[in-house]
């Protein structure tokens, strides 16, 4: 990996997202948005790493990211997604979902639309109204799906004032993240370790499928779908475990990979099992053999499952229960054509190896968020820093 630039921004960063480049264009990522949390005044900001006219000797661009514009945001920014080139959707800890519009001519952000009571414990009508944090958003123009600590799933459409569809009490525990599988289907993860698939075409309030790990109910915090194979999903859990699931087959994960290991206790010399939450997991959108995770222990891991690397050291760790799961997965694969198996599903310690690299130079406070687009990666930490690299695969 090439150089990585750090910038301290005096606010704890909870989310970072690249602005999507127009499809078919040759541009690389240039602009990213960040959301802050835990401040009295939180901000959603836009940053640019674009051309400032400073070329270094190699012809690459130097200098770190510059703030383009920002706007106040009520409550912590719990999730952030780009709706399209100009609009950003933000989820707040006050239960409010906001669409911000970016005006490139005068470099400002403004509030375009807002659903203030998207998530609540007791409704706006009652005297004891209490809001609930909205924890996850996913967008697919023109639809926005949000989930929250109240166990509610909302389907919004931009420019519609009310929610198009609401599934109340979809889950009795907190929903942490959501992603689209195929367009009318979404997948949510919750704090009792379950993945639930919901189909908006169906009328009921029940999920169409539930998958979970047997054994410990480890909360799952993040989920991402494979860019091309829509049945492959990766989740990150509270104990540092990364799981790959095939939603067509069975109710158990295909592989369990443990990277964010427990660390030694400060005061004593024995290993302490501490929870090393994986905050975000992302498949690389154009090279899906690469996966990225970031966690509470301040590390950012790059998982490389591509099979064309000649020399690989076996850094593949597996948790204690995997022997059962491996045999499970192998028997499941028997019916699947060889060409459809992605490198993530057919993991086998003797044949395929996954190379795991840590990307951040030194361990800091928690890395809360990351995003990848092309050769660029951005991540934000609780140490009030944003790290950007434009040379991910060097």
């Amino acid at each position: 990996m090439g150089e990585i630039y750090a910038k301290f921004v005096s606010q704890k960063i909870s989310k970072t997202r690249w602005r999507p480049v127009p499809p078919g264009s040759l541009q690389t990522a240039e602009t990213f948005a960040t959301g802050s949390w835990d401040n009295e005044e939180n901000y959603v900001s836009l940053w640019s790493i674009g051309d400032f006219g400073n070329l270094d000797s190699d012809g690459g661009f130097e200098g770190d990211h510059q703030l383009l514009c920002d706007i106040r945001h009520h409550g912590d920014v719990m999730d952030l997604q780009f709706f399209d080139q100009e609009r950003i959707v933000a989820a707040s800890s006050t239960g409010c979902v906001t669409i911000f519009l970016h005006h490139p001519n005068n470099q400002t952000l403004s509030v375009n639309q807002q659903w203030t009571t998207a998530h609540y414990h007791t409704g706006p009508g009652s005297p004891s109204y209490s809001s609930a944090p909205c924890t996850g958003i996913v967008c697919d123009n023109p639809e926005i799906v949000t989930v929250g600590e109240d166990g509610r799933i909302n389907l919004f459409r931009a420019d519609h004032k009310e929610a198009v569809r609401t599934i109340n009490n979809a889950d009795s525990s907190t929903l942490h993240a959501v992603t689209f599988l195929r367009t009318p289907e979404i997948l949510t993860v919750n704090s009792i370790g379950q993945l639930k698939i919901w189909d908006f075409r169906q009328q009921g309030n029940e999920p169409s499928q539930i998958l979970s790990l047997t054994g410990d109910r480890v909360p799952l915090h993040c989920v991402d779908r494979h860019p091309s194979q829509q049945h492959v999903v990766a989740t990150g859990g509270q104990d540092g475990m990364l799981s790959i699931w095939d939603v067509r087959q069975g109710t158990m994960p295909v592989s369990l990979l443990k990277a964010h290991e427990a660390e030694t206790n400060l005061h004593r010399n024995k290993l302490l099992r501490s929870y090393l939450l994986v905050w975000e997991v992302h498949f690389h959108p154009s090279n899906p053999d690469h996966l990225f995770t970031c966690s509470e222990d301040g590390s950012l891991w790059h998982w490389d499952a591509s099979t064309d690397v000649p020399e690989k050291s076996s850094l593949f760790h597996q948790g204690g229960r995997t022997s059962t799961f491996l045999s499970h997965s192998i028997s499941n694969q028997a019916n699947v054509q060889q060409s459809l198996i992605s490198s993530w599903l057919s993991t086998d310690t003797t044949k395929d190896r996954i190379e795991i690299t840590s990307l951040l130079p030194s361990r800091t406070l928690s890395v809360n968020s990351l995003d990848v687009l092309g050769p660029c990666l951005v991540c934000g930490t609780d140490a009030e820093a944003i790290y950007v690299t434009r040379q991910l695969f060097v």
């Binding site: 719990m78 800890s93 166990g151 054994g215 109910r217 509270q238 005061h267 501490s274």
Partner: protein
């Protein structure tokens, strides 16, 4: 603040001896009194530097700061433009060049330096007496300054700007080999002379004076009073402590001053809405009271989202603060129950391994069931897994749900034995026995015999236990009577069903055993 910090570094940490002390102090002044650079950029940038209005000011400042080489360059410019004073400039330049200073690599001893310096001083004096510079007042002032003439120095008050600059310049040109011990005498007199009785010393002056007197504790005390937060003193004290410069005082709070200040600072961080994460690290480094303080503070961080709660919990778990984990999880579970998020409440109590709370949540579930006749949140109960063992009530809930499932799948025999075991194993709460028995009714009424004779006897025993143990009610009112009626009807129906089942079971078992 950087001013104070650097001075403390020079005096306390580097503990510079007599010779290099002055050099360090000169550097210190040059670093912190920076108008020189902008002024020299101004003057040099103009077309005719020596005719610039601030030219002489610049040269004077350069001399005051001991930057004699640069001053000489300026003078040579002046010499070029005005030939009349060329000679004088050259002489002065020579004097500047020949001033003996202690260079770092030099192996001169202090006495040698003193001697040379004395010699040079006398030469300057001689030039002044001879009147070499009388035609140019500027040059004469410069010479006087280089002689360390106090009056001349005081005239330059405006350029000097503050008393410590005055002090250093004075030392440079009158006592270059000053010893650290004598520093405070000169400092005091400089302060008095500079201020001239017009104004009283400001807090910064007091701090610097204390530093010159090598009174570390006084410095810290003055800084604590003067500065608005504990950041500076905490870090300074920590640094000094690591250099083993602080004698340990026995304070009421913390093992020594360093710990006291660190605790204060960290507590201040915790009061900030987002800097609490940093405070944690500071508490970790306070050996005596750090952990206790952290335990107290961390419970009081406001938790408005689960994300923040998880971060706080991780900090506690890392340091094995199980009590705090339990109390935080309990708070979150309580909030969840109040918001009717029973699933969340249960997962928090499982994380805290809090059996009592799990029982509470299970009771809520069961109450919901009794009220509505069906389970809410089936997804949670169906998938409890090993967490079921946390509390008896929870286990009962799980098993009861399993019973319903078995019944739904028409596996009646399994359902029946499960139901019986629930009652006989005492994990079912007594209040629920009636419901369980009522659930047994449809099984008893089935066409085929499900409960064996033994099992039926067990059921009858349970029913008798239940009815016998019922307390005598007080004054019956209409509602009570109605309830009692329902109860009696139920009991009668049960007795009937049990009797019939017993009959059929005995017959069936009898006939099987027979030939």
């Amino acid at each position: 603040m950087e001013l104070i910090w650097n001075l403390c570094e020079i005096l306390f940490i580097e503990v510079a001896p007599a010779g290099p002390l002055l050099l360090h102090l000169l550097d210190w002044v040059r670093l912190h009194v920076c108008e020189v650079d902008s002024l020299s950029a101004d003057v040099l940038g103009s077309e005719n530097p020596s005719k610039h209005e601030s030219f002489w000011n610049l040269v004077t400042i350069l001399v005051l700061q001991g930057r004699l080489d640069e001053a000489r360059q300026m003078l040579s410019k002046e010499a070029d433009t005005s030939p009349t004073s060329a000679g004088m400039c050259r002489t002065l330049g020579d004097l500047m060049r020949t001033m003996p200073i202690l260079s770092p690599g030099n192996t001169q001893t202090l006495t040698e330096l003193e001697l040379k310096w004395q010699h040079w001083h006398e030469e300057c004096e001689r030039h002044l007496q001879d009147g070499t510079f009388t035609s140019s007042p500027h040059l004469e002032t410069l010479c006087k300054i280089m002689l360390g003439d106090e009056a001349a120095l005081l005239e330059q008050k405006e350029l000097l700007n503050n008393w410590y600059h005055f002090l250093v310049t004075r030392l440079l040109y009158s006592h270059p080999t000053v010893k650290p011990m004598d520093l405070h005498l000169y400092a005091q007199s400089s302060l008095d002379l500079f201020l001239g009785g017009e104004s009283s010393p400001e807090p910064l002056d007091n701090i610097l004076m204390a530093a010159f007197e090598f009174d570390i504790h006084q410095v810290i005390k003055e800084c604590s009073i003067a500065l608005s937060n504990w950041w500076f003193v905490a870090h300074l004290t920590d640094l000094l402590d690591h250099c083993k410069l602080l004698q340990s005082h026995n304070l009421y709070f913390g093992s020594n001053m360093r710990e006291f200040l660190l605790l204060e600072y960290a507590s201040g961080l915790f009061a900030h809405h987002s800097l609490w994460q940093l405070g944690v690290d500071y508490f970790d480094y306070c050996p005596e009271l750090g952990r206790v303080s952290l335990e107290l503070h961390i419970e009081r961080i406001p938790l408005n989202t689960e994300q923040k709660a998880l971060k706080v919990l991780r900090i506690c778990e890392q340091r094995q603060m199980t009590e705090q984990v339990r109390s935080i999880c309990k708070i979150l579970a309580m909030k969840a129950v109040r918001n009717n998020r029973l699933g969340s409440a249960l997962s928090w109590s499982i994380r805290a391994k809090d059996a009592a709370f799990a029982t509470l949540v299970s009771d809520r579930f069961l109450m919901d069931y009794c009220d509505r006749g069906c389970f809410s949140d089936l997804d949670l109960i169906d998938n409890l897994g090993p967490a079921m063992m946390l509390s008896d009530r929870l286990t009962f809930l799980g098993k009861y749900r399993e019973f319903h499932r078995l019944y739904g799948e028409k596996r009646f025999v399994d359902a029946a034995s499960l139901l019986l075991s629930l009652m006989t194993s005492q994990i079912a709460p007594r209040s629920f026995w009636m419901t369980l028995l009522t659930d047994a009714l449809p099984l008893l009424e089935q066409k085929q015999v499900i409960f064996s004779a033994e099992q039926t006897y067990e059921l009858m025993r349970c029913l008798e236990d239940l009815t016998a143990g019922r307390p005598v009610r007080g004054e019956p009112d209409a509602q009570r009577l109605q309830d009692d009626d329902i109860e009696t009807t139920k009991v009668e129906m049960l007795r009937l069903a049990l009797a019939r089942n017993l009959a059929r079971a005995i017959i069936r078992e009898g006939s099987l055993e027979g030939s």
